[in-house]
């Protein structure tokens, strides 16, 4: 009972991290049909830049902002200079981002070396807090849930309540028509790409506080984002939340009860979803 409860809590908190990472991915895909396979690289960039900022300023909030902003700038540059010209050619864009991720991984390795980094969390977030039944639970993992909910609400408000959000939704529905009524779709696209990149950069700082950051994490978070949004449905924010929950729970409950094949479980869920609903639980055909 205690184990199940703990594993579920762990699953939910891991899902929170997965959601923050995947929300940027799904936003970018939803708006632009760009499968950004350099998403994991942006995660690394955000985390490393955040680390630099923290080393300079000693401030965790500044590190969060720095990671998000840095990743956003890199993301917008990628979109503006390399991706926008291939609008509609999704395979080409996927390939370009693969090339970028190879280069980025190597350059980051040159700059930051192969060691693992971890953030010094503010004292108030460190340690564990008492909880019924399970005894204690890490504070930062609870904070993670809060952050994920905050990201979800902020994105929801942005998408549902602002003119920019109306443009994003209209662009998901029919980007050509959106252009035909005078909206500068390329600009919106670059901004959305920047927003998606900012989210994953933010996630990089958060993730390397909860876990750690090292070369190779890029591929890991790219894969987890892919799995999460494919399960939930590409381009859907609630879909990403549901997908993250499913995958996070599957990973942790699997690790608790049948560790040998737990790592396969999330991929099996994904293939099962694909076989049953090829566009994900809440997705729809492009």
């Amino acid at each position: 009972m205690k184990l199940l409860l703990l594993a579920s809590l762990n699953g939910i908190t891991l899902a929170a991290l997965y959601f923050i990472v995947a929300s940027g991915f799904t936003l970018i895909f939803g708006m632009m049909r760009v499968v950004n396979l350099a998403h994991g690289s942006l995660y690394l960039i955000g985390a490393y830049l955040g680390h630099d900022v923290a080393a300079l300023s000693g401030s965790f909030p500044l590190a969060l902002a720095g990671g998000a902003l840095g990743a956003a700038l890199v993301g917008m540059a990628i979109h503006y200079f390399l991706l926008d010209r291939y609008q509609g050619d999704d395979l080409r864009q996927a390939l370009v981002t693969i090339g970028l991720s190879i280069i980025a991984a190597d350059l980051l390795l040159a700059r930051y070396g192969g060691l693992s980094y971890q953030f010094e969390l503010p004292e108030m977030f460190y340690g564990s807090m008492p909880m019924p039944i399970v005894g204690g639970y890490p504070i930062f993992r609870i904070v993670l849930i809060g952050l994920a909910i905050a990201v979800y609400l902020a994105l929801w408000l942005l998408v549902q309540r602002t003119r920019f959000g109306i443009m994003i939704r209209a662009g998901v529905d029919d980007r050509h028509m959106l252009g035909a009524i005078g909206v500068n779709v390329p600009l919106i696209s670059t901004l959305v790409f920047g927003l998606g990149a900012a989210l994953v950069g933010f996630a990089g700082v958060v993730g390397s506080s909860a876990l750690s950051i090292a070369p190779g994490e890029d591929a890991r978070y790219l894969l987890s984002s892919l799995v999460v949004v494919i399960v939930g449905g590409m381009g859907s924010l609630p879909g990403a939340a549901i997908g993250a929950l499913l995958i996070g729970l599957a990973e942790q409950i699997g690790l608790a009860y049948f560790p040998t094949y737990s790592i396969i479980l999330s991929f099996v869920i994904m293939v099962a979803v694909l076989a049953w609903r090829p566009y994900g639980l809440l997705g729809r055909p492009a």
């Binding site: 390795l109 070396g113 060691l115 980094y117 010094e120 969390l121 930062f140 070369p215």
Partner: protein, 416 residues
């Protein structure tokens, strides 16, 4: 159509010719290949490996047995396939005489098998520590001057049983052969003493969030033995610390390595006092060793706070090659038979003690039981609490009996 294909061919031929010439311009120098990982999960270790070779070569002034040494580096990414491709390139294209490497267990097994197909060359293991590499069907031209993963844990089981008083231990370890090997090394002593390993939790490679594995650790365990790869162990330690778990830890060799101790993170405060064991320890109180550390720090100011175990592994391997070459005065004729004979008989005095080889060309060496301690400058290091001299591959047991117990696996050995 024709002209295009002709030009393609001409291009290929041109490249071929170009590279062939660059290689055929052979000198009388001895060519030594270095193979380590500069890509993939073991990248931090690979950087250390090349530093080690560089330092050893510089100490010898890039000369051995009166001949100059050409050093050719290749990098793999931890995959046996890639290691093999690179080894082939070093041997067949770059025409190295001696290959030093590789880094990790699976790669080591692949290189050992490849060594059998290149009997005129000599292979000296870098840091890979899989037991089977030299225990099961060894290659006559493959030498390992470092202890294997099971040897590394010699003395640890006795130490935690006798000194720390642990009786029931839970194991959380990486679900791959190196994990099994280390656990075997730990358990063979600990179980023989009468200790119990009440739960083994094998975590898949690539797991980053260990929280639910931590949740499975039974309350009645006196201590938790942990063993996983560098970056993963940092995640584990953080999550273990944050989970509020109170049981003390016993560290596998990777976990107490400098690459982990030097990493920045809040988990560090948890580490002080934790026991571990390895073929080298940065707290060795010995003038030769201190000199070695000082040279490392001087040569690599951007390196770790003290040389890591992979550094030591490659350093010893390179030193052994140089010593062998000196003994035969650089004579590699006769398909290197003389050189290999010299290697087999070497008794090397290394910073962490003397190294010699058994009949399978596997190292017999000192093992250091350590506890993590904080140095005056604030950095963490492994303080030596016990030295186990001349540990051999069968951990002091008769070879037949040791081999008959089978390869280490999830369930072998077992003492619940």
């Amino acid at each position: 159509m024709l002209s295009r294909k002709l030009r393609c061919l001409a291009l290929v031929a041109g490249i071929t010719a170009g590279f062939s010439i660059s290689v055929s311009a052979q000198s009388t120098n001895i060519r030594i290949g270095g193979l380590a990982t500069l890509d993939g999960p073991f990248v931090a270790l690979g950087q250390e490996a090349f530093r080690a070779m560089e330092m050893a070569f510089e100490e010898a002034n890039y000369t051995a047995g009166g001949r100059k040494i050409d050093w050719i580096k290749e990098s793999s990414d931890g995959r046996p396939d890639v290691a093999l491709t690179k080894a082939r390139k070093l041997i067949e294209q770059d025409k190295v005489d001696i290959l030093i490497g590789p880094m990790s267990g699976g790669e080591g097994l692949a290189i050992k098998e490849y060594a059998k197909t290149a009997p005129t060359k000599t292979f000296v293991n870098g840091f890979s520590a899989a037991q089977e590499t030299t225990l099961v069907s060894p290659a006559a031209n493959f030498f390992r001057f470092g202890a294997d993963g099971a040897q590394w844990q010699a003395g640890l089981g006795n130490y935690v049983y006798d000194t720390k008083g642990y009786r029931n231990v839970a194991v959380v370890a990486g679900d791959y052969s190196f994990g099994y090997t280390q656990v075997l090394g730990f358990m063979s002593e600990f179980c023989a003493k009468g200790g119990k390993v009440i739960e083994k939790i094998w975590v898949p490679n690539g797991t980053k969030d260990f929280s639910s594995a931590i949740a499975r650790i039974p309350n009645k365990a006196d201590a938790v033995y942990i063993m996983m790869g560098g970056a993963d162990s940092i995640n584990f330690l953080t999550q273990y610390d944050q989970s509020g778990a109170k049981q003390p830890l016993i560290l596998g060799s990777n976990v107490s390595d400098q690459t982990v101790l030097s990493a920045k993170g809040p988990f560090q405060r948890r580490l002080v006092g934790l026991p571990s064991a390895h073929m080298v320890a940065d707290g060795i109180e010995d003038a030769v060793y201190k000199d070695y550390v000082a040279k490392y720090k001087k040569r690599f100011p951007d390196g770790l706070s003290s040389p890591s175990a992979p550094f030591y592994g490659y350093y010893v391997a390179t030193k052994a090659v140089l010593a062998g070459l000196n003994q035969v005065a650089g004579d590699l004729s006769g398909d290197q038979a003389k050189f290999r004979a010299a290697l087999s008989k070497l008794r090397l005095d290394m910073p962490a003690g003397q190294v010699s080889l058994d009949e399978n060309r596997q190292a017999i060496a000192n093992i250091y039981v350590t506890e993590v301690a904080r140095a005056p400058d604030g950095s963490l290091y492994n303080k030596v609490v016990k030295v186990i001299p001349n540990v051999n591959q069968t951990l002091g047991q008769p070879r037949e009996a040791f081999v008959a117990r089978g390869v280490p696996s999830r369930d072998n050995p077992s003492c619940p």
